[in-house]
Subunit: 124 residues, 2 copies
Amino acid sequence: MEKIFEQVLLYDFYGELLTPHQRNIYEDAVCNDMSLGEIAKEHGISRQGVHDLIKRCDKILQDYESKLHLVARFGTVREKIGEIEQLTRLNQTGQMETISGEEPKLQERMERIRSLSREILKEL
Amino acid sequence: MEKIFEQVLLYDFYGELLTPHQRNIYEDAVCNDMSLGEIAKEHGISRQGVHDLIKRCDKILQDYESKLHLVARFGTVREKIGEIEQLTRLNQTGQMETISGEEPKLQERMERIRSLSREILKEL
């Protein structure tokens, strides 16, 4: 399950760098959850051929990640965005929400949001 | 000048995808502002060879940009981060600063920051 999740993420970021043929087959396997047999039949190639192509695409995508780190950087940015979402949450009376028991202070909160947004820019 | 700026940005994002040899020469030309003659001498190749290599690297980097759009996406994210910086700016008395003459309202400002941060996540 975790492997599929990683493959989907890698494909999201680097899929455009595969050939159309590689993309078609990789998508069927990874995003459309088709079996090797089904894909082989659909594309008129052997099961072994499908298997090899998927392994080769895994390698290509991982190589790009090892050089550009887009998936890893996306994870970091997503965490920082999550924190900004929490910091900007207001309750029903339009007041800032308390985070881990601390009374919200406008100045500290704004400074934290600024610093998070700068960190995001540095991640890119 | 604008071309150099574009080359530096492309190199920042995709330089890792060039070979070490391509990187050395492209860096000398684009980041270290060396002349074709100086680079040719340093690397023991012809001026024409340096010229061709730089053109080829330009093409490789532009091809990656046309597929992954990292430079363009970075520009968009940087604008949104700029807006967040403006929205979180406080004056000397610790109050939110007025933006284009409008009195700041906590709720609107927090909502705008949230929506900007979500847009950033979608850009990635």
